[in-house]
Amino acid sequence: MIKIRDSISKKLTALNMLVSGTALLVACAALFAYDLSSFRQTTLNDLSIQAQIIGSNSVTPLVFNDAKSAQQALSALQASPHIVYAGIYRTNGQFFAGYWRTKTVHETPPIPAAQGGNTRWFREREFTVVQPIVFDGKLVGTVYIRSDIQALVDRLKNYALILVAVAMLALLAALLISRTSQRAIAKPIAALAETARAVSRDKNYGARAAPTADMDEVSVLINSFNEMLAEIQKRDTALQESEDQFRTLADSVSQLAWMAHSDGYLFWYNKRWYEYTGTTPEQMSGWGWQSVHDPKLLPIVLERWRASITAGKAFEMVFPLRGKDGTFRDFLTLAVPVRGADGKVLRWFGTNTDITEQRRSEEALRRSEKLAATGRLAASIAHEINNPLEAVTNLIYLAQKNPTNTGKYLEMADQELERISEITRHTLGFFRDTSTPVKINISEVLLDVLNLYDRKIRFKKIAVKTRLPQGLEITCFPGEIRQVFSNLVSNAVEAMEENGRLCIKASRTHDWTNGYRSGVRVSVLDTGCGVGRDQMPKIFEPFYTTKKDVGTGLGLWLTRGLVQKHHGSIRVKSRTGSLEAGTVFSVFLPREPLQDQNQSPEVSIETGKRNLHATSE
């Protein structure tokens, strides 16, 4: 705080005193100078008169050469204490008679020469008068008188004393008047300053400076200051309200919310955070949140949070947080940087959304969809079998009715029965699932799936091209993997009109996202109608279908779920339009997915999501 060293009041007083003092000083100096000059003149005049009187009185002694009488006449000068020396000289300059104030020294100084024609002068702290003695028109001698300045000094001393006394009185008066009059100006300013000091010290923007009655600049200043305070108070209130609203909102949302400085230091959490975790602000401040994390996952969380802070990019991750009852629940955590006008990150705003229930219901839906898919599969198997069965029944009826011409009918019936047997052989693979993952040859699975759709492929005159090398083994749940590719091939076939092309390729490869995981990649390409740009983001959503009459819209959703369960990833690229339209699905499956257990399933599923690039061309 600034300490007021020289108050305006003091300054005003000092100024007043300075002005008064200067005026007084100038006046005194003028008076003094005038008095000095006039006193000097008067002294010289007096001396001249005295010289004339001495001269007159000395005529007779001079004429009669009576030095004793002259001496007596001169001794009258004792009455004038300032006269140092007086002498009477003859016309030839010879000393005639003299008077000395000091009785011991009796010099007889010669008559000084006239100073510039003057017969009297003031020089070397002495008054000197040289007066000729004239009798009857004839010069008979000269009087020479010298006086010291003691009279002048005395007078000046007195004078100075008086002047000082008067000046002191005058200044005192000026001080009193100044004190009284400056109060009208200085007091409101001092009051304003005190208010300002109080405001800045106590942060009390409700304080107001006392207004003055005068409508001068100070009054304008005070009013402006008060208006400014009112404005600040208004903004303060608005800010407080906004802050209160934010807190209320942040505390009432079902999510956990928090804020962090640009360096990642968390400085605020909402009430829900404390309620859920059962912690205190002291425990949580800064990097204290680590205590509610799963220690196994914490390094990954920290690494990614630090990466987000460094890059200034939004943070998104699913991880478990420990509640006050000690159990972990899954939270989707999003944090976005709040930037200033210069683009620099000011702080981070984050939320943790409990997705445990969502996860559970998704899992339940996935399970029920698996059941439904099984049901649908059973129904389509029934359909697939009923078709040739009907043909066989019809042909047997015909053979019975016309026993002479049975060869053709029985041959056809045999073909149809062969189909039935093939269908059962292949479809049973779907149900023959194991409880533990087994090693399978992916090419064999793909050929099985192709066989299943063989009839439809031939009927639609679809050209099938495959590149399925041997030895591509992965460890998986074969039924689920079969279902994955069955869904993809079925979609491809459904998407195409007659004379389309279906291309299925498998190859040994590494994961797109982290190159160290080896596995196989299978791509299923069709020259069908393609997936529109607007449909692309939705194709993996449950219940999204373009085939309302036959599909449930769960196929690709289930497919993705199964791929993710195997720690793999799925991508799709598609092109619509008349030329070169088509879709290609690429599935990566790691060679040993289920030994990769050091990663928690939460992270893996999340990773799987990130790998999904549904791009449309």
């Binding site: 079998i385 029944t393 019809n394 042909l395 009826y397 015909l398 073909q415 149809e416």
Partner: protein, 152 residues
């Protein structure tokens, strides 16, 4: 119309046993199915009953034929790739609402909106007799200016 419905109940057995009677009720039947072998077997069956059968390997082809030919009965597979049986049935009913449709399905359950469209539903598998009965019931009555035996 009522006489046809009443007579229809007894006719199939008679038709099978007495071929000469069947000719009276000969119909032009359009068979639509995307499965070649069952389609052919169905054709043989219906032809053996004396009907004239026109094959169509897809819904699209079936509708084209239906528009250009005089068809008495349509025998339609419900589950077809491309244009499915439901769409074909809707189109047929739009073109000629009185043409009877026999819908064949391999599924035990039928979609609700399709049920009302077909005059008969037959579950594939062991449905030979069901199909013959349905066709016999739905054959239009002999025309007055046609065979004299129709009055008997």
């Amino acid at each position: 119309l009522s006489s046809r419905a009443a007579g229809g109940k007894n006719r199939p057995a008679a038709a099978i046993e007495k071929p000469e009677l069947a000719e009276l009720f000969m119909a032009i039947i359009l068979c639509i199915d995307d499965e070649p072998n069952p389609l052919q077997a169905r054709k043989f069956l219906l032809e053996s009953e004396g009907h004239q059968v026109i094959e169509a390997a897809s819904g699209k082809e079936g509708l084209r034929i239906f528009q250009s030919e005089s068809i008495d009965i349509v025998v339609l597979d419900y589950w077809m790739s491309g244009m499915n049986g439901l769409t074909v049935a809707q189109e047929i009913k739009r073109l000629r609402p009185h043409t009877p449709i026999i819908m064949l399905s391999g599924f035990p359950e039928l979609p609700g909106e399709a049920v009302g469209l077909a005059d008969r539903w037959i579950l594939k598998g062991r449905g030979t007799r069901d199909l013959l009965v349905a066709v016999a019931e739905l054959v239009p009555p002999p025309k007055r200016d046609g065979n004299m035996k129709s009055g008997a």
